[in-house]
Every structure is written in C-alpha cells, then in structure tokens.
C-alpha cells in the first residue's frame, strides 16, 4: 500500500509523517513521532490510555487513523507541562498519589485537562462521568477524582 504523507500540528509544533492507511493515530504518535507518553491499552476504545485531543476534541488515538489527522492540531501528554514546570493537574496527581503503576496516567491527565477546559468548576459526578472512558486497573479512582477536583480549585484561584 502506498504511504500517505500527512502534515499536522502536534503540541504546537508542525510535523510531517508518512503512514500506512492501517496505522492508527496512536501508531503514528508512538512509532513515527516517538511520543510514547500516549499508551496502548485495549486498542478498542474501552480503556482511554491513548486519550489525546484533536482540534480540542478528546478522542481515543487507537480508533482514529493516522490519515484522518491531516491538517489537525493534536495535543498529547508531552505538551502538558511547560518545560520543567508541571501542569497543576500533574502536580496534584503527585500530591494526591493519584497513580500506582502509571500506565493509565497520561490518558487520565489529558482527559481531565480537556474536562477543565470546558468546565472549570466540575462537580464530583461530572468528573466521574467525564473520566468514565479511562480505566485504571490499579483501581485508584478515588484519589484521581480528588486530584482533579483539587487541581480545578487551584486553577480557578490562579
């Protein structure tokens, strides 16, 4: 199969890559662009480990094809911290110990950031519903939800 030449923006930087039609956006991010912060869990859109934003929409990178990324602006976990300065969500995840093995964490952070951008003052129920598509097999959900609520409070105050 002929490869597609795709131009997009990733975390603010213009990128170009070649991809097979059957490569998902997840394959492209991890293998072609070396951005391995986005994880592969189920590959069927159930677990949310591959959560990224595409033109501001939270999506599963495993269900989107690389060719569909043409002309879009993609946000991944690598774009979350500002250099060495962690995003408030990242700091609160550390403070609340909202991770154990950490595989699900990039997905949770990207999804939580997307929630706080549209809803800066979410209720606990809203957080739980928004993060329903992200699974944590260590099952540390309560700390994750508390970290997100705490980060939201800090970001509103800032």
């Amino acid at each position: 199969m002929a490869k597609h030449h795709i131009a997009a923006v990733v975390n603010g930087d213009p990128v170009e890559f070649l991809c097979e039609p059957g490569d998902t956006l997840l394959d492209v991010l991890r293998d072609a662009l070396g951005l391995t912060g986005t994880k592969e869990g189920c590959s069927t859109g159930d677990c949310g480990a591959c959560s990224v934003t595409v033109d501001g929409r939270l999506v599963c990178a495993c269900l989107m094809l690389g060719v569909e990324a043409a002309g879009t602006s993609i946000g991944t976990i690598e774009g979350m911290a500002n250099g060495e300065e962690l995003h408030p969500l990242q700091r609160k995840f550390l403070e609340h110990a909202a991770l154990q093995c950490g595989i699900c964490t990039p997905g949770f952070l990207v999804a939580a950031k997307s929630l706080l951008e549209r809803s800066p003052d979410p209720t606990e129920t809203e957080v739980r519903y928004w993060l329903a598509g992200n699974l944590c097999r260590c099952t540390g959900y309560d700390k994750i939800v508390r970290a997100v609520l705490d980060a939201a409070a800090e970001m509103r105050g800032a």
Binding site: G22, V59, C60, L63
Partner: protein, 335 residues
Amino acid sequence: MEALCEFQVLSPTSLAGVLEARTAHPQAQLLGGGTDLVVNIRRGIVAPAVLIDMTGVAELRAIRADAQGLEIGASVRLAEVAQHPGVVAHYPVVAEAAASIAGPTHRNMGTVGGNLCLDTRCIFYNQSQWWRSANNHCLKTTGEICHVAPKSRGVCFATFSGDLAPALMTLDAEVDIQHAAGKRTLPLRDLYIGHARHDGSGQGDGKHYLALQPGEFIAAVRVTSTPGLRSGYDKIRIRRSIEYPVAGVAVALRRVGDTLAHLRVAVTGTNPRPVLLEGTEALCGGALDARVFKGLDELVRDQIMSMKTTFTPGHYRRRVAGVLARRLVQRLFAG
C-alpha cells in the same frame, strides 16, 4: 494486539466525491468516527479493502434545529447533537439520547450516520478473532448457527443498541438515503429490518439489519416539529456513565388538559432492530391512570425480545424496559 488489515483510505470532501469513490470501489465501507467499525476491523469481524472517510464531507456536516424542524447531516458528531442549543430546547429526546451514548471520547468521534447504522451486537460476535474461532464462528460472520439461539435456523439474534434511532423514531423521523443516481426518503422505522417476531420464515434473517441497497448511504435525518410534544430518553447500563444499553427507552407524548393525547414509545438494546411499540394510540384519550400503565407494560412485554445477547438476562432487560417506559411517561406527563 492484532494489527488492522490492509486497506486503502479515501477522504472525499464533497458528496460528489463520495459517490465517485463508491462507484470506483463498490465494496468500500464507509468510515464515520470509527468507534464501531475500527473495533470490528481490529477484531477481524470485517476486512474491507477500501474505507471512505465520511467525516470531511462538507454537505453532511450541517445541523439545523429550531421550532419548525430538525435536520442533521450524517457526519455530525454525537457530542455536537447533544450540546446543540436548538436540539436541547426543541428535541430533548434526541439531545438526551446523544448525551447518553458511550463516553466522552466516543461522542466526540462517533457520527449520527454511524450511530444510526451501528452494527448489531452480542457476546458471541463482539469478541476477538481468536475467541470467536475457539467458539466456532457464528452465522453473522462465517459460521452456521446463532450461538444466542442455536435452533434459530439461519436467523441472527444480535441486538441493535443505537440510542439515536429510538429517539428519532418517536418523532416520526425520515432519513435521506443517497445513491449514485439520486436520493430517496424513507421513514426511519423502515430503515431497520433486523429480525422481528412477526417475520415469517425466509424474511428478516437478522444478519441484514438495514434496508440499504448496495451503494446507498444515509445522508441526513429529518424531523418535522409537532407543537406541544414532550419527549425524553433514558437507559439502563451496567456502568451508568458508559456502556451499551441493557435497555434504552424513548418516549414522546402530548398532554391536553388532563388527557394523554398522543403517545409514542421506542425501545433499543433488546431486539435485532429498534422497536417503535405498536398499539400506543389505544392507550391515549383518557387520564394517565392504571389502565395506561398496565397497557404499556403489556406492549413492552409482548414486543420486546431480549435474549442472551449480553451479560444481563433477557427477562431482566424486559422488566427494565417496562420500568423505564413507565417512569418516562410519568415524568413527561407531569411536565
């Protein structure tokens, strides 16, 4: 994880481009958000040689919702439907159904056309290639029997579980179906031909669940507004925040004084097609009393055909559907 099969992707930006691509590749499958199709490709359930990405087709991305009517293009994303102020204000059943589909990522990706054409599912079909080959493939793929109903003699009982279809059916929606030579319009309820109890033998095999001819696809869905209509959607899931419906119910009704003047109820997640309950007119014309509730329970009981397609047993799903219908009718009637 299994790699995706080899395929070619075409990305037309206009309706003319889609028709051209379909003429050149008659066996191509249409790709919306990919939340259903890409998963099925990954599981080796389908192996299309060509995919046509519909999400960039300008003509299919429009949404219009006001007090006169509702028209939604097939490539509009589910999250857009759920949040559209006109849909929320005038067609709450549609907004509520869209908001209840899966999780946020799926609603951000999935499209209206994809949800209306959602593949039917069951616990024997929605499994990996490896799992299915170990269990003998079912008749919806390459095998000969339906594992849900081994004596079904060629009928597939996989369940339709889309949420938009029942919501739109209670509003008497029509779909615009596009093909190379033009367009035809069909009442949405006639789009679904999955097996129904009243089907005779040789008709309604359940494997073919949509009345689309080769080369046809859904371009838009349309509703004409009925003044005074109240509508709503609710569903039960194993996880309330995500998941396919154990049963989903849409209700549209009109109240005049203390009289129930109009009632439509549609159910999803229980049969190989979404079911617009027949016989609800007979429940109208009087107060909302025990007679209506008893009648509604009987209609649900008689027309729901929930079988062993998911982890919750059929008799439970039938009762759940009845309870949801009753609660929704009460809520909407009270206003």
